[in-house]
């Protein structure tokens, strides 16, 4: 047995405590007359010239009572949100390998400085092209970069997220079949381990979805695919490796069979972190692909967006891309709207452009060798952690057992659940007490009691050891002090929320403060919490 390395972060694990401000809502600190900012005043010359500011607006359209927004000083407004930021476990603070399938990695501050330049921040999207040559050049250059990485012919950065890119790709698949005179092709095939959006987005575009399930080696069989192919097949939407980190080695056969049936193949490369420089979508025969710039390409996840989805297509499908495309005539960059087969606009303007600038800077800082080092290190880190995790009793990695994985692993705590009654979701809640978190799985849980971990290239050996040590501790605690886990978290910003009916019952849910006040009254929270407290105590005593 190997001696386990002791992480220098061991003490962080034991002594961590999140900020806990019990910060009231803005509505609760509001005081009549307080102001946080004064807008530019209306000049006397203007009022003298036109009279009352709203004189052109019919009186019945004017608001009679002001909106009940909070009234806070700037001092308190800033403090409020600073405190809330401290009560948020941003990836920058931790070795964030728990938000798996999301490829959480280092987000270099230099890229933040670049995108906050007035030369980008203050650009209006409808400026004359001559005045935006710089940003068009970056959009153009980054397209060339993604072409080299994927082997595809053209890209659009208009989709404002990964799922938006999948929808864009579904729209292109649809337009292609209609253009070819085969509008009856209305079935999309995907796999259960592909991100839910590979089912949901084509369904939103009107397709019928067929889902394939894995065999014991972690991927569906060729026979299973064959069985669902027909003249109705529009395409295959697939991740590879999928959420288990297992690569389907027969992917070229899959692509070939779908092509033979007349369908298109769409590669979800939202997370391509283990494959940069190793495998290219075009070489596998894919017709479309997409990258998430907020996953693989180092742009921050921004509390859940804006991200950016980059959709790539082959030459044959390029005419269907959203308008406009960015073109270069050898001397100047310009926007091309004259694309009659285009599916139209999939988002306003040109998408989340700042993320293209960040991603461009990220690739430029690494180069081809660096990108390959990203992929190889992500895979190295994942397999190191896999080795460590599998040494912990009652943690398994179902499918393709004994094999190495690419960039992530979906572990199972099924044995632990059987023996202790605790679920992986309970352990995940307890992880908050150690300054960590982990993703279980998308639904349905094909892997029982799942925990999906993706240690990207950003983390050190000590980080990986710390993470394994946390799991060791969680597992041990599950057997020795399960009540600590049941009542967790203890050291996070807030305590256990025992009554989820507040989120499910239409009579009780409150999506805004005004809804809360109507349904529960101002003091209801206190009494509800006291009630909860009493019942928690009672349960404990029992």
């Amino acid at each position: 047995m190997n001696t386990q390395p002791v992480s220098p972060y061991q003490s962080t694990l034991e002594n961590y405590h999140q900020a806990r401000w019990c910060e009231p809502l803005l509505f609760e600190i509001s005081e009549a007359g307080q102001r946080g900012i004064i807008p530019p005043p209306l000049e006397a010359g203007i009022t003298e010239s036109i009279g009352a500011p709203l004189q052109d607006v019919p009186s019945w359209m004017r608001r009679t009572s002001p909106p009940a927004l909070p009234e806070v000083s700037q001092v308190h407004g800033l403090r409020h949100f600073l405190r809330l930021s401290q009560e948020t476990l941003g990836a920058g603070l931790i070795a964030d390998m728990g938000m798996a399938t999301s490829t959480v990695k280092y987000n270099p501050p230099v890229n933040e400085q670049l995108v906050r330049s007035p030369k980008l921040n203050e650009l209006h999207p409808l400026q004359d092209e001559e005045t935006v040559q710089g940003i068009l050049e970056i959009l153009y250059r980054f397209e060339q970069i993604l072409k080299a990485i994927s082997g595809m012919s053209r890209f659009t950065f208009q989709p404002r997220g990964g799922s938006a890119a999948i929808y864009t790709n579904a729209s292109i698949v649809q337009a292609w079949h209609r253009w070819r005179g085969e509008p009856w092709r209305n079935e999309i095939i995907t796999t259960i381990f592909s991100h839910p959006s590979n089912a949901a987005c084509p369904a939103s575009a009107g397709f019928k979805i067929i889902t394939l399930y894995p065999e014991s080696d972690g991927y569906p069989s060729v026979e299973a695919l064959r069985a669902v192919l027909s003249e109705r097949t529009a395409g295959l939407f697939i991740t590879n490796p999928d959420d288990t980190g297992i690569f389907n080695p027969k992917i070229d056969e899959f692509v070939h069979l779908v092509h033979e049936a007349g369908g298109l193949c769409v590669y979800d490369q939202a997370n391509a972190n283990g494959l940069l420089g190793i495998v290219r979508a075009a070489d596998l025969g894919f017709d479309l692909c997409h990258f998430n710039l907020h996953k693989t390409f180092g742009t921050p996840h921004a509390s859940g967006g804006p991200g950016a989805g980059a959709s790539g297509v082959t030459e044959a499908l390029a005419p269907f891309l959203p308008v406009p495309t960015v073109e270069f005539d050898g001397t100047r960059y310009f926007l091309d709207y004259d694309r009659p087969l285009s599916i139209g606009k999939v988002a306003s303007f040109y998408g989340a452009v700042a993320n293209v600038v960040r991603a461009y800077a990220w690739v430029m800082s690494l180069g081809a060798e660096g990108l390959r080092a990203v992929a190889e290190t992500a895979v190295l880190n994942n397999n190191y952690l896999l080795a460590r995790m599998l040494e912990i009793p009652s943690i398994t990695a179902p499918f393709a057992e004994g094999k190495h994985r690419l960039e992530q692993v979906r572990y199972s705590l099924e044995k632990l659940t059987r023996e202790t009654g605790l679920h992986s979701s309970d352990l995940a809640r307890r992880a908050a007490d150690f300054g960590a978190h982990f993703f279980l799985s998308h639904h349905p849980f094909v892997v029982p009691e799942p925990a999906t971990i993706e240690p990207t290239e950003s983390y050190s050996q000590a980080d990986l050891d710390t993470h394994a040590a946390m799991f060791e501790r969680l597992v041990k605690e599950a057997y020795t002090a399960p009540e600590e886990i049941q009542s967790a978290p203890h050291r996070a910003a807030i305590h256990l929320m025992p009554d989820p009916s507040y989120l499910e019952d239409p009579q009780r849910w409150a999506i805004t403060w005004r809804a809360w006040l109507r349904k529960h009254g101002k003091n209801a929270q206190q009494s509800a919490m006291a009630e909860n407290e009493a019942s928690t105590k009672k349960t404990k005593e029992e």
Binding site: Q34, P39, P40, V57, M61, P66, L69, L78, F81, R83, T88, G92, P108, S117, K119, N121, L123, H124, P125, V132, I145, G161, G162, A164, P196, A200, I251, G277, V279, R280, P300, H301, A302, S303, G305, Y337, K345, A347, S348, V357, V363, M364, A368, G370, L380, H404, L406, H437, S458, Q461, A493, H495, P498, W509, I511, T512, W513, R514, A515, M529
Partner: protein, 465 residues
């Protein structure tokens, strides 16, 4: 594999150092990285070297390189810009930037409601403050942009009513119309209702002609694409309801410190854009949308987005938050969910929350009045210029208005080129989408424009035309 023995210390990749690699490989029990890739057959491997520029390992070099490219831009802040059309140059309070660059918010993603409590609270407060402006109890977390908000709101209306047609006003952004068309086409048939060329407002008669028992919803924006308030709002909403349809209205939150919100007239789903609320333009990267409704189960269950709810914790006095009715979503139901859930634009929701908190009711009143007043002033001032005709003068305008140059005999491009030489970005041409308006441009003024700047625009146009 390549790079394996390279002695480069990558600042972003701690474990790329060869001695650390070797140590870890040994612990895994393999000899090389190559063995870890055993799952990928040789025939599927990329054999070449990616043809990529760089690398610029030094941060200073990188910075100099990217800044040199960005330097080729001339930003709206360096000139006087009158561009609008869906993205707006407003004043951005410093606190908004301070908060949205906090590394905690910037780098968080989708942690649980415990360790990401602050993120949840900020998003709940965003929804709550929007709810006060809109007079509605349910507000989504931000959608990708206002286009998506409108497109989704209409799909929601289709599902709620079980009907298949939507009537969309042509007085909305043509690009938004394109997005709605692209997004609705699988399930909904779009009928476009023209606008009245005199008022610039949705033609109520045209809507009436298109309305039938298959109509799921009527959609329009107020202010609309031409800056006109839809003074027929009452009438349009009544029409929709009489036909058993819903009325979906796009609104600009910045007007709501002084204007009654669409819900007060009975609008069923209200949506729009929040870029005006403390978010920089970023060449269109600062867009984000919202959807809002009454708190009725039949509405709530049709949202595809996350909805944040308030709930107690086991400690009295402590707020907790969680996600409401997630069974709706594709995260739980895959293709059986409502549209899809994904990474959208939460950081802009947090930023808008900061903005609304700072502005409060008084700030929103002043900015609303300030923009209405400047718009009225600019219209009056430009109307005096020979060769210019302001269209839709009978309608009240907010922030934008259409300037027609037909009488001058010059094209918008010619005029804008002359303005640009004098440090002014003129309004953008409407010819491509609204050819019937002739040589017209959409002009925009906000609270950042001074009287002197508006006067300068009028004087310069006098000189050019």
């Amino acid at each position: 594999m390549s790079g394996e023995n390279k002695e480069i210390a990558y600042p972003y990749i701690p474990n790329a150092l060869p001695h650390i690699r070797d140590r870890m490989l040994q612990r895994i029990g393999v000899k090389s990285i190559e063995e870890l890739y055993e799952m990928i057959p040789e025939r599927l491997r990329f054999k070449g070297k990616m043809d990529l520029p760089g690398p610029l390992h030094s941060e200073y070099e990188l910075r100099r390189h990217v800044e040199a490219i960005l330097q080729k831009n001339t930003s709206a802040a360096e000139v006087i810009s009158f561009l609008g059309g869906g993205c707006y140059q407003h004043f951005v309070p410093a606190v908004c930037d301070e908060i949205n660059q906090r590394y905690e918010f910037l780098t968080a993603y989708s942690g649980r409601a415990y360790e990401d409590h602050g993120r949840y609270q900020a998003l709940f407060e965003f929804a709550s403050m929007m709810g006060e402006l809109l007079n509605l109890e349910v507000v989504s977390v931000p959608t990708y942009d206002g286009y998506q908000a409108a497109a989704t709101a209409l799909r929601m209306a289709g599902r709620i009513t079980g009907r298949k047609h939507i009537i969309v006003s042509r007085a909305i952004s043509p690009d938004k119309l394109s997005r709605i068309a692209n997004y609705s086409s699988p399930f909904l048939k779009i009928k476009v209702a023209d606008f009245d060329p005199n008022s610039g407002q949705t033609d109520i008669k045209a809507v009436e002609r298109l309305l039938d028992t298959e109509t799921a919803a009527i959609y329009f924006d107020t202010p609309n694409f031409f800056g006109c308030l839809e003074t027929g709002i009452n009438h349009l909403i009544t029409l929709a309801h009489q036909a058993g349809a819903l009325c979906v209205v796009g609104v600009e939150p910045l007007t709501l410190g002084v204007l009654r919100p669409p819900a007060d007239y009975g609008a069923d789903i209200v949506c729009g854009e929040i870029q005006s609320l403390g978010i920089h333009m970023q060449f269109g990267g600062g867009q984000a949308g919202f959807i809002a409704t009454r708190d009725e189960e039949r509405f709530v269950m049709e949202y595809p987005t996350r909805l944040i709810g308030l709930l107690p914790t086991r400690v009295p006095g402590e707020h907790g938050f969680g996600e409401v009715a997630m069974e709706r979503t594709s995260f739980l139901k895959r293709e059986g969910g409502k549209e899809w859930l994904g990474t959208m634009a939460n950081l802009w929701g947090i930023t808008a929350a900061v903005y609304l908190a700072l502005m409060g009711p008084q700030g929103m009143k002043e900015i609303g009045e300030g923009i209405f007043a400047r718009t009225s002033y600019a219209i009056r001032k430009l109307a005096q210029v020979k060769g210019i005709r302001i269209l839709h003068l009978s309608s009240p305008h907010f922030r934008e208005f259409v300037v027609n140059f037909d009488e001058s005999g010059k094209t918008v491009e010619e005029i804008n080129a002359s303005l640009a030489q004098r440090g002014i970005f003129g309004g953008h041409s409407l010819r491509r989408h609204f050819p019937e308006m002739g040589e017209s441009a959409l002009y925009c003024v906000t609270e950042i424009h001074t009287q002197a700047q508006i006067d300068l625009l009028a004087d310069t146009l006098k000189e050019i035309l």
